[in-house]
């Protein structure tokens, strides 16, 4: 190869990189630099107007000594554990029932439908529904007067109410995945087990659930990563209140930054949240790219 062709090859090779350029510029400009900026900002005290003051790790030590932070951590744990459980078990059970039902497309659409609504719309309808005008009144009718109150104003109860509401909206995609998984099961082992007279319970535990394990893993990891990020529904339903009782880390970060103007503290909460999510995301990624 003479010098001239190497040169041309070089140019065309460089030109290949141009295809990456627009995407890389936008992603680096918006996100990669943002990550660096937020890390740096978490070591500063800043109200967004006056000069930034470097304070080292004081934001972090302040957060760890702040009772509200630990309430927020506890709420985040509730969200993760319970929404994970509900988002795994409920769609699986419903999927098993739906494939055996008289009208599976109808049931599938009913349970998928809320997933097409935005968290904002879902939250707004729920707030109206849970106001004392709505569902709590039904409990009053059957004699539980104590329950006729604004559930969203009771600490801890409000978090669980919101977890249920998010489940209402959230199971749709998982349900479709499980239904697809059940429909594509390999029939041979199931038939073999049936011929040998296996009981239904045995059939599910030993044959069907293991065969669904790859779908289950996808659902589990996806729900795990998403459960840390829930924002819309909490912002709409309680704004983290009353008295910051229903904040999660995702909310605390927002409230510290954009409501209380403690950008440094907000940045540190964002960094802590990121560290937790990255651990979860690591398993998710490993699962996604297993084949490569």
């Amino acid at each position: 190869m003479n010098k001239h062709t190497t040169f041309l090859l070089d140019i065309s090779r460089k030109r290949d990189y141009l295809y990456l350029l627009p995407a890389v510029v936008l992603v680096v400009g918006f996100f990669v630099t943002s990550i660096g900026y937020t890390v740096v900002l978490s070591f500063f005290s800043w109200d967004g107007v006056s000069e930034k003051v470097f304070i080292g790790v004081q934001n972090y030590t302040d957060i760890f000594n702040d009772n509200n932070f630990w309430i927020s951590v506890a709420n985040t744990v509730y969200w993760v554990v319970f929404s994970l459980l509900l988002n795994l078990v409920l769609p699986l059970v419903l999927a098993i029932l739906i494939v055996q039902s008289v009208n599976s497309p109808l049931f599938k659409n009913i349970f998928y439908f809320p997933a097409t609504l935005s968290g904002t719309v879902g939250g707004l309808i729920m707030v109206a529904m849970l106001s004392t005008y709505g569902i709590p009144q039904l409990f009053g009718l059957v004699g539980f007067e104590k329950m006729v109150r604004d559930w969203l104003s009771v600490p801890v109860v409000n978090t669980f109410v919101m977890i249920f509401m998010q489940t209402w909206r959230g199971i749709g995609v998982n349900l479709l995945l499980f239904i697809a998984g059940l429909r594509h099961l390999d029939r041979a082992p199931i038939e073999a087990a049936q011929i040998e007279g296996a009981s239904r319970g045995w059939l599910y535990m030993k044959v069907i659930f293991p065969a669904l394990s790859s779908t289950t893993k996808v659902v589990l990891l996806m729900s795990l990563v998403n459960s840390f990020k829930v924002f819309d529904i909490i912002w709409i339903m309680t704004k983290g209140g009353p008295y910051r009782s229903s904040e999660t880390l995702a909310l605390s970060m927002y409230i510290e930054s954009f409501v209380r103007n403690n950008y440094g503290v907000g940045a540190s909460v964002a960094i802590l949240l990121t560290c937790i999510i990255l651990i979860a995301a690591y398993f998710n990624l490993r699962n996604t790219f297993k084949s490569e």
Binding site: L26, V32, L97, Q100, P114, G122, L124, A250, Y263
Partner: protein, 277 residues
Amino acid sequence: MSDKMLTVSSRRSRVLINSVLVVFSFFWIFPVIFALLGIMKSKKVYNLTNFWEFAPDIQLLENYRFIVEYSNILQGMINSLFYGAVGALIAVIFSMMAAYALAKLRIGHRMFWFMLIYSGTIFPFQLYLIPVFKAYQRVGLYDTRVGMMLFYSAICIPFAMFVLRNFFIGVSDEIMEAARIDGADNWKILWRILFPMAKPSISVVLLTQFAFSYNDLMFGITFTTSSGIKPIMATISTFQDHIPAMLLACIIVSIPSVLLYSFLNRNFDEGIAYTSK
């Protein structure tokens, strides 16, 4: 597997299965029933009656008029339809190019470039709020249409690139070689040969990313403030006081995304699995 195989034989369990589903279905559509009963009532009647009672006279049009005259819901919808459509389109064009380069062109350190772009979806989006907010204020993109469009394009790129790259990897090199012998360069191969082949993946990406931007609340409330610029979810989130009109607004703003998902659901049974970000 055919549905038959798991079907229960006994009549009793068949009845049981369907009744359990009917009960659950009732809970699942209850909020819709609640909203439909509510939108018929006037503000006053809503406060005076029980929610399960029908409206004495139907005030649907009055509520609609309230939305049009006293809220910015329709403006917000127009804004979001625009942001979502332009954002998804720009994202798909840039992602096509990047995915093509990563799957088929001579790029060194492919995995590095891939992860660099893909990293946009791995980190929690909260991480981007403060820097983008501050940067937008400084360069004058805060509370502007261009700023919102640009941001939604950027945030859709990682996922769009991921899906399209998967598709391009599956395309055999022979097709490209044949085109190259006919004198097509990389650019022509991408848009004349790969683009038509990728249409199903592209429509899934376009529709899901449009829906993501349309349904977004967090970026909307952070990067905008004036009513003419605010996207729809940020607009509707501050709707107060008039509950029946608010419920009606909820139904109206959901029309685009519900239509879109039912279209996706019908045409791409597998594609729907990609809808989460």
